[in-house]
Structures are given as structure tokens and as C-alpha cells.
């Protein structure tokens, strides 16, 4: 099955995901959605790592390990981010990023 799929497909998918993530992060107004965009970026990275490892460097496992660490660390990042967002929500009753403007230039 996988023999029919070249690495190009994986790379196109991951690049698309990466830029969709960056676009979503910049455009979305909801803090949780922005966090989801970051997850898209991190998962694009994971696809990259695993695809490179599988196709180009099957003799070592560095890419697989890296992907596992990225997953674990992304989880911790989200845990802290959600905690902070909840503590913000308790005060201003919204998670719209336009309302988070106490400090400005």
C-alpha cells in the first residue's frame, strides 16, 4: 500500500498543514482556535519527521523519537495554555483575542 505513495505526498501534506496552521494562528480571533492552529503546526512537523525517517533514513530512529517528544511536549504546552486561558476567562468572561487588549503601545 505505502509503496505507491511517494514522500512528495507526505511533504505536500505537511507543508500545507504547516501554513494552514500559521494562517489560522494569525487570522483566528478565538484563543482556543489559535491553540488548535499551533497543534496543526506541530503535527505537520511530526509528519515531516516520520516521513523523512521512513523514506530516507530507515537505518536510524531519530525522526520517530523526535516525533514522540514533540507529541509529549505539545501536550504540556496545551495544558499550561488552557490553564492560563481559563484564568483569563474567569476575569473577562471572553476568550476573544480582540478583547484581550488591556495593554497596548
Amino acid at each position: 500500500m505505502i509503496e505507491n505513495i511517494g514522500i512528495e505526498q507526505f511533504l505536500i501534506l505537511s507543508t500545507l498543514m504547516f501554513f494552514i496552521g500559521v494562517y489560522g494562528f494569525l487570522v483566528r480571533k478565538n484563543l482556543i482556535t489559535m491553540l488548535m492552529s499551533v497543534e496543526l503546526i506541530l503535527n505537520a512537523v511530526n509528519i515531516n519527521f516520520v516521513a523523512f525517517n521512513k523514506y530516507y533514513y530507515p537505518e536510524n530512529l531519530q525522526g520517530h523519537f523526535f516525533a514522540m517528544f514533540v507529541i509529549a511536549i505539545a501536550a504540556t504546552e496545551v495544558a499550561v495554555a488552557i490553564a492560563i486561558i481559563i484564568s483569563l476567562y474567569r476575569k473577562i468572561r471572553t476568550i476573544d483575542v480582540e478583547q484581550v487588549d488591556e495593554m497596548k503601545y
Binding site: 525522526g63 492560563i84 483569563l88
Partner: protein, 475 residues
């Protein structure tokens, strides 16, 4: 791996031990006795700092993932001293905000956890350790920035920090994945062997540079800085602007010298452009700030621009001058933040106008502030001058005269706004200046260490020679 090799990580092991001891002792306190953890934590950290100076073997473990050399250890000791001063300065803030903390142990533990991350970051020998170190350094800090639950600003700063940190680490990771794809390794040593500078690798370099530049708040990536610095509790602000920045600079040098030395033109062009942008924009924004925390935030952005000057040629003396500058920067910036923290804790005032006539009521605080600002501005007798001098010299040696000229113009501009604060303290008058502040013993010791450091480092030329003998140039 034998025990001997394991103890190459002595700095990190000690820090973890201190953190765990503080956490366990914290469990034994009751609400009535919880303040006792503060001196315990400070003394334990002092012991850790002193042990850090004992001689230690160097080498690498985990197949090269972790490596130490003399200059790494020097940097770790500098970070230890910085965090020790921050702990001294935060004692009063912790006592003032007693109702917000069920216990103080968490505060110390989170700062130490983040410091462990930075130690691993500057010791990293491959991209996996680099990534884990950055995240371990950043995530706890975001929690600390948002620790003041009653203030909207604090949570807002926390959200801004964690979201932009997440984006930046995502971008760095994408760069690392491209490096892995094109070279087949994540170890610095192996990557640099097969790195040939094709366009995909240059893209990867730019992504990685962007991620690290975010941590240092170099100009196109600086937008989070002022807001986070203003909203965070002031001791955390000083942690972010000094410790976090210094360690990120160190790893940037390691990356540029050990991995990306194959593409010197691109590296130098990027550093050239960002250096000019960072100095100029940091200065121009610093002029119009009234809040001292924001003021110091932008001034620290401008300082980052000067540091880039030293890295640009990839020389050994550049490396040494950056480490020397960072050492001075730790003392001078912590001195300035210490005074702002002492005054903010006592009166809640943080604006430059509030400092009018400060010298009449608080001569000692004003003097320390003046010393720190002179050192940041680079006025000759104090250490900051020598730091800047070596940075400019190393850039001039490479023939970047126009860049040095721009930097000197920027130093002059920065002198203007640093002196505005000094003028407010010493010359301006107001009807009811800030009353006489009686800081506690911790703050006094902290400020005394800063003042001594600022004065001493400038006068002992051997320090620079020592750093220079440990530094290395681009491969």
C-alpha cells in the same frame, strides 16, 4: 554510562535536588509558618551557586546529546548568580502578596525548573535536547507570568507569552525537521559535516533562527516583549529579560558557530539586518515609554541589538565579548529591576514621573539605579562600557565599520533616555516624592551584589582574558 559521566551534569542535578528539597520542605509548613521557606530556598540556592564554581570535568554524554565545556560552565554559573539575585529580590514581593499563595515553595520550584531547562539548553549537543531545553525553559515561565490571579494584565501577559512561544517553537521545529530531512541527523556535530547550504537548508536555518530570535526578542519577533514584561510580576520580568535572554543568546552562538558556519554570508547578512533593526527600533520605542517596566523591556531589546554585533563575524573574540557582555548585563539589568521592584513593592508606583526627587528621600536606591543605568548605557568607569567596547571592537575587526557607526549613534540615543530617568531622580523635584523606603535585608543584599558586580567586573581585566581563553571561534 558510569557514575562519573553522570556527574558531568552536576549543575542540573544540583538544581533538581534543590527544587525537590524546597518542594518537600514546603509540604511540612503550615499557613502560619509558610514564610520560613523563603530563607531556606535562598540559602539552598546559594549553596548550589557556590558548589557550581568548584572545578568539574568536561565532556559529553548520551552519545553527544549533552556536552559541557569550560565556557558552558561559566555561563551556567552566571545564570545561577542571576537567579540567586532574583530570589533575593523576590522575597519582599512574595511576602507582600501573601494572600495569593497557598505556599511559596511552588514559586521557587517553578523558577528552578525553568533554570534547569536553560542549563540543558545551553549544554545541548543535538536538536532534540535543544528543543526540550527551550520548552522546559519557557512553559514554567508562562505559568509564573500569569501567577497574579487577581490582575487581568497578568493573565493577559501569560496568554500572550504562551501562544507566541508555542508558535515560535512550532516554527523552529519545522526548521529542525527540514534539517533532519536534508542531513539525516539531529546531532550538531553530524549535521555540520553534511550541511552544504542548499536552499532547503537555508530555509531551515531561517526558521530556526526565527525561533531563537523570538526568545531573545530580536526585532521582527519582539512584539510580545513589552506587553509580557509589563503584565508579569516584576521579578518574573527580570527573569525573562536577563536569564532567559542570556541563555538564548548563548545557544544562538553555539548554533551559529557549530552548525550553521557553512553559510557565513547568509548568516552575516541576517545578523547585520536584524542587528540594525533591533538597536534602532528598541531605542525609538524606549524613548516614549513612561512605565519603567516597559522602558526596561525596550531598552533590553536595544541591548540585544548590540549583542548581535559581536556574533556577526563568527570569531573567537566575538564569542568572548558576548559572554562578557552578558555577564555584565546580568548585574546591571538586575540592579535596575531590583530598584524598580523595591519601589513598586513599597508604593506601587512604576512611572518615570513618580521617581522625581527620589534622591532626596532614597539616596541609596537612586545611586544603585544610576549605576545600573550608566552600565546599561555604557558610560566609562562602570562595567557596561567595557562590555560594549569589546562588542564594537570585535565587529570593527571584521571590517563592519558602518554597522559600528550605526551602533555608536544608537548608544548616544540610548544615553538620552537612560539619563532621563537619572535626571528625574536627581534633578527634578516634586511636591510629594516617594517616601523613604525601608527595604528588607534580602533586597539590600541583592542590590549590593549588583552594585559590586557592576563596579568590579569593569576593573578586573583578567575576567575578559579568562573568558577569551575559554571561548572558541566558528569552525
Amino acid at each position: 554510562m558510569t557514575t562519573d559521566q553522570f556527574f558531568l551534569m552536576r549543575h542540573e542535578i544540583l538544581l533538581v535536588a534543590v527544587g525537590v528539597i524546597v518542594l518537600v520542605m514546603d509540604l511540612m509548613t503550615t499557613p502560619a509558618t509558610k514564610h520560613r521557606i523563603i530563607p531556606v530556598a535562598i540559602v539552598l540556592f546559594l549553596i548550589n551557586t557556590i558548589i557550581g564554581f568548584l572545578p568539574i570535568e568536561t565532556g559529553k554524554i548520551f552519545g553527544g546529546m549533552y556536552r559541557t565545556d569550560d565556557i558552558t560552565i561559566l555561563m551556567k554559573n552566571a545564570l545561577n548568580i542571576g537567579v540567586f539575585i532574583i530570589f533575593l529580590q523576590s522575597a519582599e514581593w512574595l511576602k507582600n502578596h501573601e494572600e495569593k499563595f497557598n505556599s511559596y515553595g511552588a514559586y521557587f520550584f517553578i523558577v528552578i525548573a525553568s533554570l534547569v531547562g536553560m542549563d540543558y539548553l545551553i549544554s545541548s549537543g543535538d536538536f532534540l535536547m535543544f528543543f526540550i531545553g527551550t520548552e522546559l525553559a519557557t512553559i514554567p515561565i508562562a505559568a509564573l507570568v500569569a501567577i497574579e490571579k487577581a490582575k487581568i494584565k497578568s493573565s493577559e501577559a501569560g496568554v500572550k507569552l504562551i501562544l507566541s512561544a508555542a508558535l515560535s517553537s512550532g516554527i523552529t521545529l519545522f526548521g529542525i525537521s527540514l534539517i533532519y530531512g536534508t542531513t539525516g541527523s539531529i546531532y550538531f556535530a553530524e549535521v555540520s559535516k553534511v550541511f552544504d547550504g542548499n536552499s532547503l537548508q537555508i530555509l531551515a536555518f531561517i526558521f530556526i533562527f526565527a525561533g531563537v530570535a523570538f526568545k531573545i526578542s530580536i526585532v521582527p519577533f519582539h512584539l510580545w516583549t513589552a506587553d509580557v514584561y509589563e503584565g508579569a510580576p516584576i521579578n518574573i520580568t527580570s527573569y525573562l529579560s536577563v536569564i532567559s535572554k542570556a541563555s538564548a543568546f548563548f545557544i544562538l552562538i553555539i548554533l551559529l558557530y557549530k552548525v550553521f558556519y557553512v553559510i557565513p554570508e547568509i548568516r552575516n547578512n541576517i545578523l547585520y539586518a536584524t542587528s540594525i533593526l533591533t538597536m534602532t527600533i528598541g531605542n525609538l520605542f524606549a524613548i516614549r515609554q513612561q512605565n519603567l517596566k516597559r522602558f526596561l523591556a525596550f531598552s533590553s531589546i536595544a541591548q540585544a541589538g548590540f549583542v548581535l554585533l559581536g556574533i556577526i563575524g563568527g570569531t573567537q573574540i566575538g564569542f568572548a565579548s558576548v559572554v562578557y557582555f552578558l555577564l555584565i548585563y546580568v548585574f546591571s539589568n538586575l540592579g535596575a529591576f531590583g530598584v524598580v521592584a523595591a519601589i513598586s513593592n513599597a508604593t506601587g508606583k512604576e512611572n518615570i514621573d513618580d521617581y522625581n526627587g527620589l534622591y532626596r528621600t532614597n539616596p541609596k536606591l537612586s545611586l544603585v539605579m544610576m549605576l545600573s543605568l550608566f552600565s546599561l548605557a555604557g558610560i566609562p568607569p562602570v562595567a557596561g562600557f567595557f562590555g560594549k567596547f569589546f562588542l564594537f571592537m570585535s565587529a570593527a575587526k571584521q571590517g563592519y565599520f558602518i554597522l559600528v557607526l550605526i551602533a555608536v549613534v544608537n548608544v548616544t540615543i540610548s544615553l538620552y533616555y537612560y539619563l532621563l530617568v537619572v535626571k528625574a531622580m536627581f534633578i527634578n523635584e516634586q511636591e510629594n516624592p516617594i517616601e523613604r523606603i525601608d527595604s528588607d535585608m534580602y533586597t539590600k543584599i541583592g542590590l549590593a551584589i549588583c552594585a559590586a558586580g557592576i563596579l568590579a567586573i569593569g576593573f578586573f581585566g583578567t575576567i575578559f582574558d579568562f573568558i577569551n581563553s575559554k571561548a572558541f571561534g566558528s569552525m
